[in-house]
Protein backbone atom coordinates (compact mmCIF):
# COMPACT_ATOMS: atom_id res chain seq x y z
CA UNK A 1 0.00 0.00 0.00
CA UNK A 2 2.72 2.38 1.00
CA UNK A 3 4.48 1.88 -2.31
CA UNK A 4 1.34 2.65 -4.35
CA UNK A 5 0.85 5.80 -2.31
CA UNK A 6 4.31 7.08 -2.99
CA UNK A 7 4.00 6.03 -6.63
CA UNK A 8 0.88 8.09 -7.16
CA UNK A 9 2.50 10.99 -5.33
CA UNK A 10 5.46 10.97 -7.72
CA UNK A 11 3.10 10.60 -10.65
CA UNK A 12 1.09 13.65 -9.71
CA UNK A 13 4.29 15.52 -8.98
CA UNK A 14 5.58 14.58 -12.40
CA UNK A 15 2.35 15.72 -13.96
CA UNK A 16 2.73 18.99 -12.11
CA UNK A 17 6.24 19.30 -13.38
CA UNK A 18 5.14 18.48 -16.92
CA UNK A 19 2.42 21.14 -16.94
CA UNK A 20 4.84 23.61 -15.46
CA UNK A 21 7.38 22.86 -18.13
CA UNK A 22 4.73 23.22 -20.82
CA UNK A 23 3.75 26.61 -19.44
CA UNK A 24 7.39 27.67 -19.31
CA UNK A 25 7.88 26.58 -22.90
CA UNK A 26 4.78 28.42 -24.09
CA UNK A 27 5.74 31.62 -22.27
CA UNK A 28 9.30 31.32 -23.54
CA UNK A 29 8.27 31.01 -27.18
CA UNK A 30 5.64 33.73 -26.84
CA UNK A 31 8.27 36.19 -25.69
CA UNK A 32 10.80 35.05 -28.29
CA UNK A 33 8.27 35.21 -31.12
CA UNK A 34 7.17 38.66 -29.97
CA UNK A 35 10.77 39.84 -30.16
CA UNK A 36 11.13 38.15 -33.55
CA UNK A 37 8.17 40.18 -34.72
CA UNK A 38 9.70 43.39 -33.31
CA UNK A 39 12.92 42.57 -35.17
CA UNK A 40 11.33 41.64 -38.46
CA UNK A 41 8.40 44.00 -38.83
CA UNK A 42 10.37 47.23 -39.41
CA UNK A 43 12.55 45.45 -41.96
CA UNK A 44 9.54 43.94 -43.68
CA UNK A 45 7.91 47.35 -43.71
CA UNK A 46 10.97 48.99 -45.24
CA UNK A 47 11.34 46.31 -47.90
CA UNK A 48 7.63 46.33 -48.78
CA UNK A 49 7.66 50.10 -49.03
CA UNK A 50 10.57 49.93 -51.45
CA UNK A 51 8.57 47.56 -53.64
CA UNK A 52 5.31 49.50 -53.71
CA UNK A 53 4.26 51.41 -56.81
CA UNK A 54 4.97 55.15 -56.70
CA UNK A 55 2.43 57.20 -54.80
CA UNK A 56 1.15 54.30 -52.74
CA UNK A 57 4.21 53.84 -50.56
CA UNK A 58 2.72 55.62 -47.58
CA UNK A 59 -1.01 55.36 -48.07
CA UNK A 60 -3.03 54.68 -44.94
CA UNK A 61 -4.63 52.29 -44.30
CA UNK A 62 -1.67 50.48 -45.80
CA UNK A 63 -2.01 48.36 -48.90
CA UNK A 64 -1.18 45.02 -47.35
CA UNK A 65 -1.54 43.34 -50.68
CA UNK A 66 0.07 44.99 -53.68
CA UNK A 67 1.81 44.14 -56.89
CA UNK A 68 5.53 44.50 -56.14
CA UNK A 69 7.47 46.66 -58.54
CA UNK A 70 11.14 47.46 -58.85
CA UNK A 71 10.26 50.97 -59.98
CA UNK A 72 11.94 52.60 -56.98
CA UNK A 73 15.12 50.63 -57.52
CA UNK A 74 15.27 51.59 -61.17
CA UNK A 75 14.73 55.23 -60.22
CA UNK A 76 17.48 54.90 -57.67
CA UNK A 77 19.97 53.50 -60.13
CA UNK A 78 19.07 55.89 -62.91
CA UNK A 79 18.81 59.40 -61.66
CA UNK A 80 20.86 59.89 -58.57
CA UNK A 81 24.26 59.47 -57.03
CA UNK A 82 23.24 56.24 -55.37
CA UNK A 83 25.39 53.98 -57.52
CA UNK A 84 28.39 56.26 -57.05
CA UNK A 85 27.90 56.42 -53.28
CA UNK A 86 27.33 52.67 -53.00
CA UNK A 87 30.47 51.96 -55.04
CA UNK A 88 32.39 54.55 -53.03
CA UNK A 89 31.44 52.88 -49.79
CA UNK A 90 32.25 49.45 -51.16
CA UNK A 91 35.72 50.53 -52.32
CA UNK A 92 36.59 52.69 -49.33
CA UNK A 93 35.34 50.25 -46.72
CA UNK A 94 37.00 47.22 -48.39
CA UNK A 95 40.30 49.08 -48.71
CA UNK A 96 40.12 50.12 -45.07
CA UNK A 97 39.52 46.51 -44.02
CA UNK A 98 42.58 45.30 -45.96
CA UNK A 99 44.68 48.10 -44.49
CA UNK A 100 43.48 47.60 -40.93
CA UNK A 101 44.25 43.88 -41.17
CA UNK A 102 47.75 44.58 -42.53
CA UNK A 103 48.44 46.95 -39.66
CA UNK A 104 46.59 45.18 -36.88
CA UNK A 105 47.17 41.46 -37.39
CA UNK A 106 51.01 41.49 -37.19
CA UNK A 107 50.86 43.74 -34.12
CA UNK A 108 48.37 41.39 -32.49
CA UNK A 109 50.73 38.50 -33.19
CA UNK A 110 53.59 40.27 -31.40
CA UNK A 111 51.33 41.18 -28.48
CA UNK A 112 50.32 37.55 -28.22
CA UNK A 113 53.78 35.94 -28.51
CA UNK A 114 56.23 38.35 -26.86
CA UNK A 115 56.59 39.72 -23.37
CA UNK A 116 55.77 43.34 -23.98
CA UNK A 117 56.53 45.71 -21.11
CA UNK A 118 53.31 47.03 -19.59
CA UNK A 119 51.30 44.87 -21.94
CA UNK A 120 47.99 45.56 -20.23
CA UNK A 121 48.52 49.29 -20.39
CA UNK A 122 49.35 49.00 -24.07
CA UNK A 123 46.16 47.04 -24.67
CA UNK A 124 44.04 49.52 -22.73
CA UNK A 125 45.69 52.35 -24.68
CA UNK A 126 44.75 50.59 -27.90
CA UNK A 127 41.19 50.16 -26.63
CA UNK A 128 41.12 53.82 -25.66
CA UNK A 129 41.24 54.76 -29.35
CA UNK A 130 37.71 53.42 -29.47
CA UNK A 131 36.70 55.53 -26.46
CA UNK A 132 37.51 58.76 -28.26
CA UNK A 133 34.21 60.13 -29.54
CA UNK A 134 34.42 60.25 -33.36
CA UNK A 135 33.26 63.85 -33.38
CA UNK A 136 36.29 64.81 -31.24
CA UNK A 137 38.58 62.87 -33.57
CA UNK A 138 37.12 64.16 -36.80
CA UNK A 139 37.39 67.83 -35.86
CA UNK A 140 41.21 68.03 -36.09
CA UNK A 141 41.21 65.79 -39.15
CA UNK A 142 38.70 68.12 -40.82
CA UNK A 143 41.24 70.93 -40.55
CA UNK A 144 44.31 68.83 -41.37
CA UNK A 145 42.64 67.10 -44.32
CA UNK A 146 41.89 70.44 -45.94
CA UNK A 147 45.54 71.40 -45.65
CA UNK A 148 46.77 68.06 -47.00
CA UNK A 149 44.22 67.95 -49.82
CA UNK A 150 42.72 64.83 -48.29
CA UNK A 151 39.33 66.45 -47.82
CA UNK A 152 36.65 64.67 -49.87
CA UNK A 153 39.08 61.95 -50.99
CA UNK A 154 38.68 58.23 -50.73
CA UNK A 155 42.14 57.90 -49.18
CA UNK A 156 41.19 60.23 -46.36
CA UNK A 157 38.03 58.24 -45.66
CA UNK A 158 39.95 54.96 -45.73
CA UNK A 159 42.29 56.29 -43.05
CA UNK A 160 39.36 57.34 -40.87
CA UNK A 161 37.71 53.94 -41.25
CA UNK A 162 40.99 52.31 -40.19
CA UNK A 163 40.88 54.39 -37.04
CA UNK A 164 37.49 52.95 -36.06
CA UNK A 165 38.54 49.34 -36.36
CA UNK A 166 42.21 49.08 -35.44
CA UNK A 167 41.59 48.48 -31.74
CA UNK A 168 39.02 45.81 -32.58
CA UNK A 169 41.37 43.97 -34.93
CA UNK A 170 44.29 44.02 -32.49
CA UNK A 171 42.22 42.77 -29.57
CA UNK A 172 40.33 40.08 -31.41
CA UNK A 173 43.38 38.76 -33.24
CA UNK A 174 45.50 38.74 -30.08
CA UNK A 175 42.86 36.55 -28.48
CA UNK A 176 42.81 34.25 -31.51
CA UNK A 177 46.62 33.98 -31.59
CA UNK A 178 46.62 33.24 -27.85
CA UNK A 179 44.46 30.25 -28.67
CA UNK A 180 46.92 28.85 -31.23
CA UNK A 181 49.57 26.70 -29.52
CA UNK A 182 53.11 28.03 -29.91
CA UNK A 183 54.38 24.50 -30.53
CA UNK A 184 53.07 24.88 -34.09
CA UNK A 185 55.57 27.61 -34.95
CA UNK A 186 58.31 25.97 -32.93
CA UNK A 187 57.95 22.88 -35.07
CA UNK A 188 58.21 25.02 -38.20
CA UNK A 189 61.29 26.76 -36.87
CA UNK A 190 62.94 23.45 -36.11
CA UNK A 191 62.37 22.69 -39.78
CA UNK A 192 64.38 25.80 -40.60
CA UNK A 193 61.67 28.36 -41.22
CA UNK A 194 62.32 31.91 -40.12
CA UNK A 195 59.98 33.46 -37.65
CA UNK A 196 58.25 35.39 -40.40
CA UNK A 197 57.74 32.21 -42.41
CA UNK A 198 56.36 30.55 -39.30
CA UNK A 199 53.92 33.39 -38.89
CA UNK A 200 52.87 33.47 -42.52
CA UNK A 201 52.70 29.76 -43.28
CA UNK A 202 51.67 28.27 -39.95
CA UNK A 203 50.00 30.80 -37.68
CA UNK A 204 48.04 32.84 -40.21
CA UNK A 205 46.31 29.82 -41.78
CA UNK A 206 45.37 28.59 -38.32
CA UNK A 207 43.93 32.01 -37.49
CA UNK A 208 41.86 32.20 -40.68
CA UNK A 209 38.43 32.06 -39.02
CA UNK A 210 39.43 34.86 -36.70
CA UNK A 211 40.73 37.00 -39.54
CA UNK A 212 37.64 36.34 -41.62
CA UNK A 213 35.23 37.28 -38.85
CA UNK A 214 37.13 40.35 -37.70
CA UNK A 215 37.32 41.49 -41.33
CA UNK A 216 33.57 41.27 -41.70
CA UNK A 217 32.84 42.95 -38.39
CA UNK A 218 35.27 45.76 -39.31
CA UNK A 219 33.52 46.05 -42.64
CA UNK A 220 30.18 46.47 -40.93
CA UNK A 221 31.38 49.09 -38.44
CA UNK A 222 32.86 51.15 -41.29
CA UNK A 223 29.88 50.57 -43.59
CA UNK A 224 27.37 51.98 -41.09
CA UNK A 225 29.48 55.02 -40.21
CA UNK A 226 27.85 58.38 -41.01
CA UNK A 227 29.78 61.09 -39.22
CA UNK A 228 33.09 60.82 -41.08
CA UNK A 229 31.33 61.06 -44.43
CA UNK A 230 29.26 63.98 -43.21
CA UNK A 231 32.26 65.99 -42.07
CA UNK A 232 35.03 64.90 -44.44
CA UNK A 233 33.30 64.51 -47.80
CA UNK A 234 31.21 66.74 -50.01
CA UNK A 235 30.95 65.21 -53.46
CA UNK A 236 33.66 62.81 -54.63
CA UNK A 237 33.97 60.45 -51.70
CA UNK A 238 30.41 60.47 -50.39
CA UNK A 239 29.61 57.16 -48.65
CA UNK A 240 26.25 55.44 -48.95
CA UNK A 241 25.23 56.40 -45.41
CA UNK A 242 25.52 60.07 -46.30
CA UNK A 243 23.56 59.48 -49.49
CA UNK A 244 20.71 57.95 -47.47
CA UNK A 245 20.88 60.87 -45.10
CA UNK A 246 20.71 63.37 -47.94
CA UNK A 247 17.23 62.04 -48.74
CA UNK A 248 16.03 63.14 -45.33
CA UNK A 249 17.53 66.55 -45.86
CA UNK A 250 15.60 67.17 -49.05
CA UNK A 251 12.32 68.94 -48.65
CA UNK A 252 9.90 66.49 -50.19
CA UNK A 253 11.05 63.07 -49.11
CA UNK A 254 10.60 60.40 -51.76
CA UNK A 255 9.68 57.62 -49.37
CA UNK A 256 9.80 54.83 -51.90
CA UNK A 257 13.29 55.64 -53.07
CA UNK A 258 14.47 56.24 -49.53
CA UNK A 259 13.17 52.81 -48.56
CA UNK A 260 14.84 51.26 -51.60
CA UNK A 261 18.19 52.88 -50.80
CA UNK A 262 18.03 51.75 -47.17
CA UNK A 263 17.06 48.23 -48.14
CA UNK A 264 19.92 48.00 -50.63
CA UNK A 265 22.28 49.07 -47.87
CA UNK A 266 21.03 46.56 -45.34
CA UNK A 267 20.77 43.37 -47.39
CA UNK A 268 24.50 42.72 -48.00
CA UNK A 269 25.27 43.33 -44.34
CA UNK A 270 22.62 40.86 -43.22
CA UNK A 271 24.28 38.23 -45.40
CA UNK A 272 27.68 39.08 -43.94
CA UNK A 273 26.38 38.89 -40.40
CA UNK A 274 24.88 35.48 -40.97
CA UNK A 275 28.12 34.34 -42.61
CA UNK A 276 30.16 35.09 -39.47
CA UNK A 277 27.39 34.10 -37.12
CA UNK A 278 29.58 31.50 -35.42
CA UNK A 279 32.38 33.89 -34.52
CA UNK A 280 30.25 36.96 -33.94
CA UNK A 281 30.42 36.81 -30.15
CA UNK A 282 34.21 36.49 -30.25
CA UNK A 283 34.52 39.42 -32.63
CA UNK A 284 32.04 41.76 -30.99
CA UNK A 285 33.40 41.16 -27.49
CA UNK A 286 36.88 42.20 -28.66
CA UNK A 287 38.00 38.59 -28.43
CA UNK A 288 37.11 38.19 -24.79
CA UNK A 289 34.43 35.57 -25.36
CA UNK A 290 36.16 33.07 -27.60
CA UNK A 291 34.66 29.70 -26.92
CA UNK A 292 31.08 28.93 -27.57
Amino acid sequence: MATTDSDSATASQRLDKDTRETIVTVVRHTILLTWSFIVLFPLYWLASMSLKPPGTANSLPPDWIFLPTVYNYIQLIQDSGFVAAFANSLVMVSASVVLVLLIGVPAAYVLSRYDIPMERDVLVWILSSRMLPPIAVVLPFFIIFRELNLFDTRIGMVLMYVSINLSLVVWVMKAFFDGIPETLEEAARVDGATQFQGFRKVVLPAAKPGIFSVAIISFIFAWIELLFGLVLTSFEAVPVTLFVYSFIGSRSIEWGMLAAASTAMIVPVVIFLIAVNKYLAAGLSFGVVIKE
Partner: protein
Amino acid sequence: MSTPTQTETAPKSTFARLRDLWNDYLPYWFMAPMVLVMIMITFFPGAYDLYLSLIAEPTLDVFAADFVGLRNFETAFTRGGAIHSFVITITVVVSALLLETILGFVLAALVAGVGSDRAKSFYRVLFIIPMAVAPVSLATIGRIMLNSEIGIIPYVINTGTPFVAPNFLSDVPLLTVILLDAWNWTPFMFIIFYAGLSSVPKTLIEASRVDGAPMWRRYVHVIIPYMKPVVFVATLIRLIDLFRTFGVVYGLTGGGPGTATQLVSINIYEQMFINNQITVAAAIAVVYLVLVVALCNVIIAKVGFEGVWD
Protein backbone atom coordinates in the same frame (compact mmCIF):
# COMPACT_ATOMS: atom_id res chain seq x y z
CA MET B 1 63.25 23.17 -46.48
CA SER B 2 66.63 24.84 -46.87
CA THR B 3 67.76 27.37 -44.36
CA PRO B 4 67.60 30.85 -45.87
CA THR B 5 70.20 32.33 -43.53
CA GLN B 6 73.20 30.13 -44.18
CA THR B 7 76.46 31.37 -42.75
CA GLU B 8 78.60 32.51 -45.63
CA THR B 9 82.09 33.91 -45.61
CA ALA B 10 81.43 36.05 -48.65
CA PRO B 11 80.23 39.62 -47.93
CA LYS B 12 76.48 39.77 -47.76
CA SER B 13 74.44 41.30 -50.50
CA THR B 14 72.28 44.28 -49.68
CA PHE B 15 69.23 42.12 -50.07
CA ALA B 16 70.54 39.58 -47.57
CA ARG B 17 71.37 42.30 -45.11
CA LEU B 18 67.88 43.77 -45.46
CA ARG B 19 66.44 40.33 -44.96
CA ASP B 20 68.45 39.88 -41.80
CA LEU B 21 67.31 43.26 -40.57
CA TRP B 22 63.73 42.21 -41.22
CA ASN B 23 64.08 38.88 -39.45
CA ASP B 24 66.13 40.09 -36.50
CA TYR B 25 63.83 42.95 -35.64
CA LEU B 26 60.59 41.30 -36.72
CA PRO B 27 58.55 42.21 -33.62
CA TYR B 28 59.46 45.86 -34.08
CA TRP B 29 58.45 45.87 -37.74
CA PHE B 30 55.22 44.18 -36.78
CA MET B 31 54.41 46.67 -34.06
CA ALA B 32 55.60 49.91 -35.67
CA PRO B 33 52.71 50.63 -38.09
CA MET B 34 50.12 49.91 -35.43
CA VAL B 35 51.85 52.15 -32.89
CA LEU B 36 52.23 54.95 -35.45
CA VAL B 37 48.58 54.83 -36.44
CA MET B 38 47.54 54.63 -32.80
CA ILE B 39 49.54 57.75 -31.97
CA MET B 40 47.97 59.47 -34.95
CA ILE B 41 44.42 58.60 -33.89
CA THR B 42 44.74 59.00 -30.12
CA PHE B 43 47.34 61.58 -29.05
CA PHE B 44 47.12 63.76 -32.13
CA PRO B 45 43.36 64.50 -32.08
CA GLY B 46 43.36 65.03 -28.33
CA ALA B 47 46.29 67.42 -28.47
CA TYR B 48 44.91 69.24 -31.49
CA ASP B 49 41.46 69.60 -29.93
CA LEU B 50 43.12 71.06 -26.87
CA TYR B 51 45.14 73.50 -28.99
CA LEU B 52 42.05 74.60 -30.93
CA SER B 53 40.08 75.03 -27.73
CA LEU B 54 42.59 77.54 -26.39
CA ILE B 55 42.83 79.88 -29.38
CA ALA B 56 40.59 82.56 -30.86
CA GLU B 57 40.65 81.64 -34.54
CA PRO B 58 41.59 78.26 -36.00
CA THR B 59 45.03 78.47 -37.56
CA LEU B 60 47.69 75.92 -38.31
CA ASP B 61 50.47 78.33 -37.37
CA VAL B 62 51.01 77.82 -33.66
CA PHE B 63 53.14 80.96 -33.37
CA ALA B 64 50.55 83.20 -34.94
CA ALA B 65 47.75 81.74 -32.83
CA ASP B 66 45.93 84.03 -30.47
CA PHE B 67 45.63 82.14 -27.19
CA VAL B 68 42.59 83.17 -25.22
CA GLY B 69 42.82 80.94 -22.17
CA LEU B 70 39.55 79.29 -21.21
CA ARG B 71 37.29 81.70 -23.04
CA ASN B 72 36.01 79.04 -25.45
CA PHE B 73 35.14 76.78 -22.54
CA GLU B 74 33.27 79.62 -20.92
CA THR B 75 31.34 80.29 -24.13
CA ALA B 76 30.57 76.61 -24.54
CA PHE B 77 29.27 76.10 -21.04
CA THR B 78 27.40 79.37 -20.64
CA ARG B 79 25.92 79.99 -24.09
CA GLY B 80 26.81 76.87 -26.08
CA GLY B 81 24.34 74.56 -24.36
CA ALA B 82 27.14 72.20 -23.42
CA ILE B 83 25.76 71.29 -20.00
CA HIS B 84 22.36 70.51 -21.44
CA SER B 85 23.89 68.26 -24.09
CA PHE B 86 25.94 66.40 -21.48
CA VAL B 87 22.75 65.74 -19.49
CA ILE B 88 21.00 64.48 -22.62
CA THR B 89 23.95 62.25 -23.51
CA ILE B 90 24.13 60.72 -20.03
CA THR B 91 20.37 60.12 -20.06
CA VAL B 92 20.52 58.33 -23.41
CA VAL B 93 23.68 56.35 -22.58
CA VAL B 94 22.50 55.15 -19.17
CA SER B 95 18.95 54.26 -20.21
CA ALA B 96 19.97 52.56 -23.43
CA LEU B 97 22.74 50.63 -21.68
CA LEU B 98 20.39 49.40 -18.95
CA LEU B 99 17.66 48.51 -21.40
CA GLU B 100 19.99 46.70 -23.79
CA THR B 101 21.79 44.81 -21.02
CA ILE B 102 18.60 43.56 -19.41
CA LEU B 103 16.82 42.78 -22.67
CA GLY B 104 19.91 41.14 -24.10
CA PHE B 105 20.37 38.96 -21.05
CA VAL B 106 16.73 37.93 -20.82
CA LEU B 107 16.63 37.05 -24.52
CA ALA B 108 19.92 35.15 -24.29
CA ALA B 109 18.67 33.18 -21.28
CA LEU B 110 15.37 32.42 -23.00
CA VAL B 111 17.04 31.25 -26.21
CA ALA B 112 19.63 29.22 -24.30
CA GLY B 113 16.76 27.33 -22.67
CA VAL B 114 15.03 26.43 -25.93
CA GLY B 115 14.83 22.66 -26.29
CA SER B 116 15.25 22.08 -30.00
CA ASP B 117 18.57 22.96 -31.60
CA ARG B 118 16.91 24.12 -34.80
CA ALA B 119 14.66 26.57 -33.01
CA LYS B 120 17.67 27.76 -31.06
CA SER B 121 19.73 28.59 -34.11
CA PHE B 122 16.68 30.13 -35.77
CA TYR B 123 16.30 32.65 -32.96
CA ARG B 124 20.05 33.14 -32.73
CA VAL B 125 20.40 34.12 -36.37
CA LEU B 126 17.20 36.14 -36.46
CA PHE B 127 18.06 38.20 -33.39
CA ILE B 128 21.39 39.46 -34.74
CA ILE B 129 19.85 41.01 -37.86
CA PRO B 130 19.13 44.50 -36.46
CA MET B 131 22.89 45.05 -36.16
CA ALA B 132 23.04 45.09 -39.96
CA VAL B 133 21.00 48.28 -40.00
CA ALA B 134 23.14 51.42 -40.08
CA PRO B 135 21.99 53.95 -37.47
CA VAL B 136 21.15 56.41 -40.24
CA SER B 137 19.00 53.79 -42.01
CA LEU B 138 17.34 53.06 -38.69
CA ALA B 139 16.58 56.76 -38.46
CA THR B 140 14.90 56.62 -41.86
CA ILE B 141 12.89 53.58 -40.78
CA GLY B 142 11.91 55.51 -37.66
CA ARG B 143 10.85 58.50 -39.72
CA ILE B 144 8.79 56.31 -42.02
CA MET B 145 7.08 54.21 -39.36
CA LEU B 146 6.65 56.79 -36.60
CA ASN B 147 5.62 59.78 -38.70
CA SER B 148 2.41 61.06 -37.14
CA GLU B 149 0.70 61.47 -40.52
CA ILE B 150 1.89 58.55 -42.60
CA GLY B 151 3.47 56.24 -40.01
CA ILE B 152 2.10 52.75 -39.53
CA ILE B 153 2.74 52.64 -35.79
CA PRO B 154 0.71 55.75 -34.82
CA TYR B 155 -1.95 54.54 -37.26
CA VAL B 156 -2.19 51.14 -35.58
CA ILE B 157 -2.24 52.68 -32.10
CA ASN B 158 -4.94 55.19 -33.06
CA THR B 159 -7.22 52.81 -34.94
CA GLY B 160 -6.53 49.53 -33.19
CA THR B 161 -6.24 50.54 -29.55
CA PRO B 162 -8.14 52.92 -27.27
CA PHE B 163 -4.98 55.00 -26.88
CA VAL B 164 -3.97 58.09 -28.80
CA ALA B 165 -0.47 57.83 -30.23
CA PRO B 166 1.94 60.52 -29.14
CA ASN B 167 3.95 62.27 -31.80
CA PHE B 168 7.02 60.11 -31.35
CA LEU B 169 9.42 62.56 -32.91
CA SER B 170 8.29 65.70 -31.09
CA ASP B 171 6.44 64.66 -27.91
CA VAL B 172 8.77 61.89 -26.70
CA PRO B 173 11.87 62.24 -28.88
CA LEU B 174 14.32 61.08 -26.23
CA LEU B 175 12.35 57.92 -25.52
CA THR B 176 12.11 57.24 -29.24
CA VAL B 177 15.87 57.59 -29.63
CA ILE B 178 16.51 55.20 -26.73
CA LEU B 179 14.04 52.62 -28.06
CA LEU B 180 15.49 52.78 -31.56
CA ASP B 181 19.01 52.33 -30.20
CA ALA B 182 17.80 49.39 -28.14
CA TRP B 183 16.30 47.82 -31.27
CA ASN B 184 19.59 48.34 -33.07
CA TRP B 185 22.05 47.15 -30.43
CA THR B 186 20.29 44.75 -28.05
CA PRO B 187 21.52 42.05 -30.48
CA PHE B 188 25.08 42.98 -29.56
CA MET B 189 24.42 42.21 -25.89
CA PHE B 190 22.32 39.19 -26.79
CA ILE B 191 25.00 37.48 -28.86
CA ILE B 192 27.77 37.99 -26.30
CA PHE B 193 25.58 36.92 -23.39
CA TYR B 194 24.37 33.92 -25.32
CA ALA B 195 27.98 32.84 -25.92
CA GLY B 196 28.73 33.46 -22.25
CA LEU B 197 25.75 31.39 -21.14
CA SER B 198 26.80 28.53 -23.40
CA SER B 199 30.20 28.50 -21.72
CA VAL B 200 28.79 28.02 -18.22
CA PRO B 201 29.82 24.45 -17.30
CA LYS B 202 26.94 22.01 -17.38
CA THR B 203 28.08 20.50 -14.08
CA LEU B 204 27.63 23.85 -12.36
CA ILE B 205 24.04 24.10 -13.57
CA GLU B 206 23.29 20.47 -12.76
CA ALA B 207 24.66 20.90 -9.23
CA SER B 208 22.38 23.83 -8.53
CA ARG B 209 19.45 22.01 -10.08
CA VAL B 210 19.96 19.08 -7.68
CA ASP B 211 19.77 21.54 -4.81
CA GLY B 212 16.21 22.20 -5.95
CA ALA B 213 16.84 25.90 -6.30
CA PRO B 214 14.24 27.73 -8.41
CA MET B 215 15.35 29.04 -11.77
CA TRP B 216 15.74 32.69 -10.84
CA ARG B 217 17.91 31.77 -7.86
CA ARG B 218 20.06 29.61 -10.08
CA TYR B 219 20.66 32.67 -12.24
CA VAL B 220 21.30 35.07 -9.40
CA HIS B 221 23.59 32.82 -7.35
CA VAL B 222 25.31 30.59 -9.87
CA ILE B 223 25.10 31.68 -13.48
CA ILE B 224 25.41 35.46 -13.27
CA PRO B 225 28.39 35.36 -10.88
CA TYR B 226 30.07 32.92 -13.22
CA MET B 227 29.37 35.20 -16.18
CA LYS B 228 30.56 38.35 -14.46
CA PRO B 229 33.59 38.88 -16.75
CA VAL B 230 31.43 38.46 -19.86
CA VAL B 231 28.79 40.85 -18.56
CA PHE B 232 31.52 43.33 -17.66
CA VAL B 233 33.15 43.25 -21.08
CA ALA B 234 29.87 43.45 -23.00
CA THR B 235 28.57 46.41 -21.01
CA LEU B 236 31.95 48.17 -21.16
CA ILE B 237 32.18 47.91 -24.95
CA ARG B 238 28.56 48.92 -25.38
CA LEU B 239 29.13 51.86 -23.02
CA ILE B 240 32.11 52.97 -25.10
CA ASP B 241 30.10 52.68 -28.29
CA LEU B 242 27.06 54.47 -26.84
CA PHE B 243 29.20 57.55 -26.29
CA ARG B 244 29.87 57.43 -30.05
CA THR B 245 26.16 57.62 -30.90
CA PHE B 246 25.48 60.09 -33.67
CA GLY B 247 23.79 58.77 -36.81
CA VAL B 248 20.51 57.59 -35.36
CA VAL B 249 19.82 60.89 -33.61
CA TYR B 250 21.14 63.06 -36.41
CA GLY B 251 18.99 61.25 -38.94
CA LEU B 252 15.90 61.02 -36.76
CA THR B 253 15.60 64.40 -35.08
CA GLY B 254 18.79 66.28 -35.91
CA GLY B 255 19.03 67.03 -32.19
CA GLY B 256 15.57 68.51 -32.01
CA PRO B 257 12.89 69.46 -31.56
CA GLY B 258 14.74 72.48 -30.21
CA THR B 259 17.57 70.89 -28.33
CA ALA B 260 15.56 68.03 -26.82
CA THR B 261 17.81 65.31 -28.25
CA GLN B 262 20.99 67.31 -28.63
CA LEU B 263 23.71 64.85 -27.72
CA VAL B 264 27.19 66.21 -27.09
CA SER B 265 28.28 64.87 -30.47
CA ILE B 266 25.44 66.74 -32.19
CA ASN B 267 26.15 69.90 -30.23
CA ILE B 268 29.82 69.81 -31.29
CA TYR B 269 28.80 69.19 -34.90
CA GLU B 270 26.42 72.16 -34.87
CA GLN B 271 28.97 74.44 -33.25
CA MET B 272 31.34 73.47 -36.04
CA PHE B 273 29.19 73.67 -39.11
CA ILE B 274 26.11 75.72 -38.25
CA ASN B 275 27.52 78.30 -35.84
CA ASN B 276 30.94 78.10 -37.49
CA GLN B 277 32.65 78.21 -34.10
CA ILE B 278 35.32 75.57 -34.42
CA THR B 279 37.17 76.66 -31.31
CA VAL B 280 34.05 76.42 -29.15
CA ALA B 281 33.33 73.02 -30.68
CA ALA B 282 36.88 71.99 -29.80
CA ALA B 283 36.38 73.10 -26.19
CA ILE B 284 33.32 70.86 -25.83
CA ALA B 285 35.17 68.07 -27.63
CA VAL B 286 38.07 68.28 -25.16
CA VAL B 287 35.74 68.00 -22.17
CA TYR B 288 33.79 65.16 -23.74
CA LEU B 289 36.91 63.26 -24.74
CA VAL B 290 38.52 63.61 -21.30
CA LEU B 291 35.33 62.62 -19.46
CA VAL B 292 34.65 59.54 -21.59
CA VAL B 293 38.24 58.28 -21.57
CA ALA B 294 38.56 58.94 -17.84
CA LEU B 295 35.26 57.21 -17.04
CA CYS B 296 36.08 54.12 -19.09
CA ASN B 297 39.58 53.89 -17.66
CA VAL B 298 38.30 54.25 -14.09
CA ILE B 299 35.83 51.44 -14.75
CA ILE B 300 38.58 49.26 -16.21
CA ALA B 301 40.91 50.04 -13.30
CA LYS B 302 38.21 49.41 -10.69
CA VAL B 303 36.73 46.24 -12.11
CA GLY B 304 39.83 45.14 -14.00
CA PHE B 305 40.06 42.49 -16.62
CA GLU B 306 40.75 39.75 -14.07
CA GLY B 307 39.17 36.53 -15.14
CA VAL B 308 38.96 37.82 -18.68
CA TRP B 309 42.53 37.63 -19.91
CA ASP B 310 43.85 34.92 -17.60
